[in-house]
Amino acid sequence: MPISNHAFGAVEASVYAPEIFAQGLPAAQLQDHGDRLRQPTAEDAAPLLDLEGIGLSFGGVVALADVDLSVRPGEIRAIIGPNGAGKSSLINVISGVYRADRGHVRLDGARYAQVPTQRLARLGVARTFQNLALFKGLSVLDNVGSGLAYRTRSNFAEQILGIGRTRREQQQQRGRADQVLEFLHLTDVRDRLAGTLPYGLQKRVELARALVAEPRLLLLDEPMAGMTAGEKSEMAAYVRAARDRFATTVVLIEHDVGVVMGLSDRVAVLDYGRKIADGTPDEVRNDQRVIDAYLGVASDNEDGAGI
């Protein structure tokens, strides 16, 4: 797994420029760009996301205790852990759905006690949900397009009468949605209602909806849950391709350790709300505490109980 994309933090401004997205810069070209800039910035780029001593409890149940996590620009960062380890809580804290009892979320330098959910898209953060959260009554295209709804400037009266910026906004939105659909090979189902698609495709549409806004930080809550092995590796390829093409930083939660190890640059392991390990896939794989807490019990768990 090349780690070249760490470099993107330094060239954020140009990489995220809308023109590049609009023109669909080929992945290869992006790659060159990254390689050229890798040397000076790879390891010491300022973290895009930094969690400092996050604590969260529901009643007496401690969901997260003193969790630190640092995510560098451009990396794919996985958070794994057994059921109930607090992974989803962590994503919900990062996206502002939950407010942490203790600690702070530092996003691109700004410090938040609770990340403002309503402004999340404007801050360049997008997420997907563990249980599908598509708009079932909208077509695939409109679902993906809704990922850009926050940029709409025209009001409802302009939209009804079709005057002013409406038409241009609409065209831009459709155009970008179509590009992302093509990128994720969803063009065939573009006009179908999202609710009528098979599960695996719905997951991919959700990824498309998150990607269309070219987020700097993409939070994926179990993107491969409930998928077949084939679908999982397909999804992993899409996540990697998305990172490479849009220079997005990815934080993902996953149960399937095998897929995660192949996909991620760095892996953090949670157990009972605490971070017990953090490092490259190889480091984590050989960490005794991880083996005890999580990987060691994997064989007892082959029938899928608790997953």
């Binding site: 759905v97 959910t117 309503q118 598509l134 009554g137 709804a149 939209q159 409406t166």
Partner: protein, 346 residues
């Protein structure tokens, strides 16, 4: 009207706007020629008013997913506002007073839509009951609204726009038809716009909608405002064109339920559904009374009619919810598809 549309259905390749356009042309040209005053007074005028109210409620409940039991209150707000604008502002054109009364209803809708920012589903429905009871109470309690009329029943003014008088049943029908056609067209534009898609997004998954940056609170209140505007104008048509009188008792909870049934039977989140549902709700009691009188003779008096109406309507709603949750629209589309298949194969 349905017979016309059925004949059109095999021509599936024609542009989408053709069928509605032909329907409107038919309603403007042919219906006034062939209709008698019974058709206008007893069927078409209430049908148009209730259809428009259904379109309004469908925007709120069908598209934005906010259940409301306060529709009749918004109708009343519109009707009384129009009456008072007409009475108290000298020389105000009818079009202006209708627009203003719609805005008043929208304001009332926003106030009673505020609970929707915290409440969902069943709880929200109950809180919109407050609108129903409060508005009816206020209109009865404060005589100013009905210009100190002793009975609370007031006569609606003559309808005229730009010097053109909408006299008689046909005139009032054309007036109602114009208002309904314009507002329905605008409603159709709305639900296919970004705002309409935001409504659906909030209905289908509010958390996801908030995360991707749709302004959830603003959009919900907007849904209440637009929906109440349309329902308010429907109230004006109901009072000015159909009943020719305005009284609070005409806008009771039964009316709210009636409008809710219209969109459930017709089909949620569908503009056409509101019209199909309203047609059923208006025509069904008439058919039932004719049928009952024909079968049972004198036994079928108004008491029995009222009771049997409620029973059959209740049964119908349950049947629809079970067999065709998407309403008459879904049924209609299926029949059309079958017909066009049969047409092609023959």
């Amino acid at each position: 009207m349905s017979a016309i549309a059925t004949q059109l259905s095999p021509a599936a390749g024609l542009p989408k706007w053709l069928a509605p356009l032909l329907l409107i042309a038919f309603a403007y040209v042919v219906v006034p020629l062939i209709g008698n005053s019974y058709l206008f007074e007893a069927i078409l005028l209430p049908f148009l008013a209730l259809s428009l109210a259904g379109v309004g409620l469908n925007i709120l409940t069908g598209y934005a997913g906010q259940v409301s039991l306060g529709s009749a209150a918004f109708m009343a707000a519109g009707a009384f506002a129009a009456y008072n604008f007409n009475l108290r502002v000298e020389g105000l054109p009818l079009a202006a007073s209708i627009t203003l009364s719609g805005l008043v209803a929208a304001a009332v809708g926003i106030v009673f839509g505020l609970p929707s920012l915290r409440l969902k589903g069943f709880y929200l429905a109950v809180s919109t009951l407050a609108a129903q009871f409060f508005v009816q109470w206020a209109l009865t309690k404060f005589n100013w609204f009905s210009n100190d009329s002793a009975s609370g029943v007031i006569d609606a003014p003559k309808l005229s726009i730009g010097g053109f008088e909408f006299d008689g049943a046909v005139g009032r029908y054309l007036f109602a038809l114009t208002v309904v056609a314009v507002l329905t067209f605008l409603a159709h534009r709305l639900v296919t716009s970004q705002t309409g898609r935001n409504f659906i997004a909030i209905r289908d998954n509010e958390t996801a909608a908030r995360i991707i940056g749709i302004p959830v609170l603003k959009t919900k209140l907007l849904a209440f405002a637009i929906s109440s505007f349309i329902i308010g104008v429907a109230g004006v048509i109901w009072a000015f064109a159909y009943l020719r009188t305005v009284e609070p008792a005409g806008f009771d909870l039964d009316r709210s339920f009636q409008i809710l049934f219209i969109i459930i039977i017709g089909g949620l989140a569908s503009i056409r559904g509101a019209f199909l549902g309203a047609a059923l709700i208006v025509v069904f009691p008439l058919v039932l009374s004719r049928l009952g009188g024909f079968l049972l003779g004198d036994l079928f008096d108004s008491g029995v009619l009222d009771m049997s109406q409620r029973i059959v309507l209740g049964a119908l709603i349950i049947l629809f919810l079970i067999l065709e949750p998407d309403g008459l629209v879904a049924l209609w589309d299926r029949v059309r598809r079958r017909l066009s298949l049969a047409w092609q194969s023959s």
